[in-house]
């Protein structure tokens, strides 16, 4: 079970939603631009949207993994010190 998050974790969590939205918007925008350039509408746009979604999810999973790892390390250090 996860213990309490650190202050940094809380702030990072608040940015995750916006990071997801920005990745989605950015990749979709790039896809739209490529579609205009190569006249392939709507394929690059769809691929961009999918890539943006994947990137956003990756960021959330990565952040969650990092926080869990930090928490486990903290608990190990506490156990080693005899703190509970």
């Amino acid at each position: 079970m996860l213990g309490p998050f650190t202050k940094q974790d809380h702030w990072e969590i608040t940015t995750l939603g916006m990071e997801f939205a920005v990745s989605e918007a950015l990749c979709t925008g790039v896809g739209y631009w490529l579609d205009k350039r190569w006249e392939t509408f709507p394929w690059c746009l769809l691929a961009g949207a999918a890539a943006g979604f994947a990137l956003g999810l990756y960021q959330i999973i990565r952040a969650a993994g990092k926080m869990t790892k930090q928490n486990i390390n903290l608990k190990k250090a506490e156990q080693k010190d005899g703190r509970r």
Binding site: V22, S23, G65
Partner: protein, 253 residues
């Protein structure tokens, strides 16, 4: 003018620049506010640094000392460790600049420079530069690039993970700019919309407009107080997130 035009007139930047022998000097309301804030900060902080013995001088010196201690002990040291001390002047400047730019927008006839995406993008670029510099200074080019690959990643996944991590870092910097811009812009939009309630209702019937006056002004006052809070909060968030990202680059594992 219809409602949409009034809102956009209130929010958008106005260019009243001059063209001198084919060279355009862009003087806009946002650039003027930006320069005014910079000038006031430069002169004000210089005056404080002189250490005047007057009551106001001593008060402001103490206030500045407390402010620097708050930035150092509350933001820089917990997130970047002792390595962050070198960058303390940058964080102090950043906080004060974002705060004063936001507060300037609450003065009548002045605009919030940070409600312009170009300004926030420039600030985010500076923060991005700092993050890059931290990575290169403390780990070197190879070490900094290695930091983008999470420990325990299988070799065959590296070509996929590395660009994802690089793009993630770029997005983090973009988010800094967009968050500040969106918060500042939306606050001012709400303020003007609340004022417009009086005129929109007044167009239906003059008595209804008069009736809407008090609630609208009450809400306006509340939102202005909230904007004051948002100014401090956004300055804090921008500085804090920059220090967290820079700290994550310095302490990779």
């Amino acid at each position: 003018m219809d409602v949409a035009e009034i809102i956009s007139h209130h929010i958008l930047d106005h260019d009243w620049g001059v063209t001198l022998s084919g060279f355009r000097i862009p003087v806009t309301t946002h650039t003027v506010t930006l320069l005014a804030v910079s000038l006031v900060l430069l002169l004000g902080l210089h005056w404080i640094s002189l250490g005047r013995q007057s009551r106001a001088g001593r008060l402001l010196t103490t206030l500045m000392e407390e402010y620097v201690l708050f930035i150092r002990d509350g933001i820089v040291l917990p997130n970047m460790g002792k390595e962050g001390k070198t960058f303390l002047p940058y964080f102090c400047t950043l906080f004060l600049f974002v705060l004063c730019s936001a507060l300037a927008g609450l003065i009548p006839n002045m605009k919030t420079a940070t409600a312009n995406i170009s300004v926030t993008a420039a600030l985010a670029l500076c923060s991005g530069g700092l993050i890059l510099y931290c990575g290169l200074k403390f780990h070197g080019i190879i070490g900094f690039l290695k930091g983008f690959i999470p420990s325990g990643t299988p070799g065959w996944l590296v070509p996929l993970i590395f660009p994802l991590e690089v793009v993630s870092m770029i997005i983090k910097v973009c988010v800094l700019a967009i968050r500040l811009f969106a918060n500042m812009l939306s606050g001012h939009m709400v303020l003007i919309c609340l004022l417009l309630i009086i005129f929109v209702v007044g167009q239906m019937h003059i008595a209804a407009g008069a009736g809407a006056l008090l609630p609208a002004m009450g809400l306006e006052l509340f939102m202005t107080c909230l904007e004051l809070l948002v100014a401090f909060l956004q300055a804090y968030v921008f500085t804090l997130l920059t220090s967290i990202f820079a700290g994550s680059v310095i302490h990779t594992h």
